[in-house]
């Protein structure tokens, strides 16, 4: 994935998650658990002659340490670079031959191998995904190629103002906890991680009780389940329990100014919030949408439209199982920096002191629900949603429950969320070098 893609993800997720959707088709989904514990989710959809597969394992950067930062994503990328049967090029060609493609990446809460193809080739696609997941070859020269690529992505990320500011903010917000680094990892660990570390990581993650296979498209459920049993049934379930992610240490508020060779100044204000399955989570997302969800949000209207203090504004809050974060940000001309920062803080303070009106509340919910619906239009996204929420422990039907919870959020809930979470901000200011 390109660095830009990586950056876009949290932003997109932020808004999406919030939305839920009436009219989703939970009825079309069934879960089947293999004897070894691997969960298979199949969504039959006749809408187009295509199929998408998302195989996710529990364990992204959330389960890493400072020494292994980035190992999950590194592993996933190397898995695409050759199996015991096929080279990277042959894998890509095999996918092309069935009208599809394969990809893999490690995120914060999970790691994914995914693929798409013409529906009539669903079985070949499933076999390819299984081959990548179960028979990776870890060719040494490909590991080195991938390492160079990852390090260059990391440099690109550091060169881009918004991702750089964002990374600095989560570092401040989470300190020694793994949420402090991007799933891409850190330079020191990426330079050092060897083949052994990748193989070790692979053995930890690819066990049936950590895996969820989701298939969405023009397929027959029973046949998919039989194929999954044949392909994944022999995996043995280890006796040892899955180690939990580390606890999150207390947070310290603060403000840091970073000078960078940039033309635009950036302000990012972050807070920690509840995890995605906590009762307060929907209210915090509504609060985020009131503040920065789209062009009718307060930051956009007040700071951009009325005062012309910003070019880009927004708020984002990704899906996290542990204490998530809410970030409000804006990009502005260096001369407007002081007024812009004061403006963001003023809007944040206003959320704590003033009740959100009914129209604004309705708008924020509609925005969140609409964005969630917009994100779940393709089979690939549907498969991702099913596998992701199941593998992180929220349950594959989480989006539907979440959508209902969003609809039920009241102005009092938003006020309570603001009072509880919007205290002691962590601020990062990125300015041009003086």
């Amino acid at each position: 994935m390109s660095p830009a893609g990586r950056l876009a993800l949290p932003a997109v997720l932020a808004s999406l998650l919030l939305a839920g959707g009436a009219g989703a088709e939970p009825g079309a989904v069934r879960q089947h658990v293999l004897p070894n514990g691997l969960r298979v989710l199949v969504r039959e959809s006749a809408s187009a002659p295509v199929v998408a597969v998302s195989l996710q394992v529990r364990g992204g950067s959330h389960f890493e340490t400072a020494e292994t930062a980035g190992v999950t994503n590194f592993l996933q990328r190397v898995m695409l670079r050759g199996t015991t049967k096929r080279s990277a090029v042959r894998l890509a060609e095999a996918a092309e031959d069935i009208g599809g493609r394969l990809d893999a990446a490690g995120e914060v809460e999970s790691a994914e191998v995914r693929g798409e193809a013409l529906a009539r080739h669903w079985e070949a696609l499933l076999a390819l995904v299984a081959e990548v997941a179960l028979a990776p070859a870890f060719p040494s020269e490909e590991i080195e190629k991938e390492r160079r690529l990852l390090l260059s992505q990391l440099r690109t990320r550091a060169d881009n103002p918004f991702p750089a500011g964002f990374d600095a903010l989560v570092r401040e917000l989470y300190g020694p906890h793994p949420y402090a680094w991007p799933s891409l990892g850190r330079r020191a660990s990426l330079e050092r991680l060897g083949r052994e570390a990748l193989v070790g990581r692979y053995r930890e993650l690819y066990r049936p009780d950590r895996m969820v296979l989701a298939v969405s498209g023009q397929v027959a459920r029973a046949r998919v389940v039989r194929a999954a049993e044949r392909l994944f049934g022999k995996l043995e379930r280890p006796a040892a329990a899955i180690p939990p992610p580390p606890p999150v240490p207390p947070r310290t508020a603060g403000r840091r100014v970073l000078e960078r060779p940039v033309h635009q100044a950036h302000v990012l204000v972050g807070y920690r919030g509840p995890g995605l399955t906590e009762p307060a989570y929907p209210a915090l997302r509504v609060l985020g949408a009131v503040l920065g969800g789209g062009m009718a949000s307060r930051l956009f209207v007040e700071l951009r439209d009325k005062e012309g203090l910003a070019y880009s504004v927004g708020a984002l809050a990704p899906y996290r199982t542990g204490p998530a974060f809410l970030v409000a940000y804006l990009g502005t001309a260096p001369a407007s920096l002081e007024a812009a920062e004061a403006g963001v803080l003023r809007e944040l303070a206003r959320l704590r002191t003033e009740r959100v009106g009914p129209d604004e509340l309705a708008r924020a919910k509609a925005h969140l629900l609409g964005r969630l619906a917009m994100d779940r239009r393709t089979n690939a996204r549907r498969a991702w949603y099913l596998a992701f929420f199941e593998v992180v422990g929220a349950g594959w039907d989480f989006p539907e429950r979440y959508a209902r919870a969003l609809e039920a959020v009241t102005a009092e809930d938003v006020a309570a969320a603001a009072a509880r979470w919007l205290t002691g901000p962590t601020i990062i200011v990125l300015t041009p070098v003086r």
Partner: protein
Amino acid sequence: MVRPAPVAPLLALAFLLTACGVTRPTPAPTTTALGPVERILANGVRVVVQEFRASEVVALQLWVRAGGRDEAASELGLAHYLEHMLFKGTTTRPRGFVERDVEAAGGRINAGTSLDFTYYHVVLPAARARDAIEMLADVAVNSSLDPRELELEKKVVLEEMRLGEDSPRRRLVRQLYERLFDGHPYGRPVLGTPELVRGLARETLRSFYRRHYVPEAFTLVVVGPVTPGEVLAAAEGTLGRLPRGGVSRLPAPPPPPLVPVRLDTERPGSQAHLALGWLAPRLDSAETPVVDLLAAILGQSRSARLVQALREREPVVSSISAGYSALEAAGVVTVTAQLEPANLGRAEAGILAEIGRLRSAGVTPEELRRAVTAAEARHAFSLETAEGRAFGYGRAETIWRLEEELAYIDRVRSVTAEQVRQAARRYLDPERYVRLAFVPRPR
């Protein structure tokens, strides 16, 4: 989310279309039980509706039979400028209504202008479908083209032009069209020129709007979890009430015969860019699917001829691809490559050698199978979303025919290797083509 100016998506799309003309036809469904419903209202407005319940999102598109080719040579850029101005307020909706009505519901708006058409696209939760139809009908004829907004937008459009100038590939393809269609409307820039945009008067724009935005030019496409009868009723009650324009659109003239050209242009940068172009069948031709496959076999995948010969086996270029754009009145086959300046000669010779091999020995069954599979996949994935379907239907209804679109993938499947070889012989003349290059300016 990071949201640049609300116009950004509009720009991006306009660019895509302006730079490349129309790309290949987006074919259509063979698998859904419910095909699209097509209706022509009394005043000439066409409506295409499809009930599609894969998600709770509805796609609504207003297609207009007016594009860059409908402009007089002295007033270029009008179709595109109008596209920018349409959502900036109507006689009853204030500026900002898009943000309030669409974006606030999590929806999106987009638009694009090409040589043959302009289209406006909305996706949003299905409960808002009726409001969106009313909104599209309103902007179609009641946009206020506010003088102050019109002046402000000039900066945005000029910036869009500069961006286009900065992208070597876009600029090169644009130049290729200028050469292939010298003196023809397809040879003109859809964005217009900086001088014309700076001097653009509201009256000129308004008269283009009045002349071209008429019922006979409109196609409304709605795809999503909707009831066709309700959508048709909403269309009747809005677009269906507009008075006919009464003037029919002039057909695009046939393209001029190709005049071979070789041209090197110096530009800043370190890499060279090469483009070769030939005239090819227009959209409404029996050979469209054949040339589509020919271009795919030449240069649209890792296993394609040019990619294998000039990048994989020997690193003559850093990237290379072939494309086929089928427009209403003509088509174009292009080969573009990015490379070290020293390799320009070798690359051109290599491209011609591969074309020569295609003309004499044809393609293998394996190559043909792969190209058909790729076309089927593109088609199948375009059917996944409401907007993918709507785009295919709208474009077909505007510059082609819906039934052709629906049968297109079957035509692709029936193409033979010999037809591909014959098309290479007919269209890819190794001695008569336009060849342009951007070479780095010496420092």
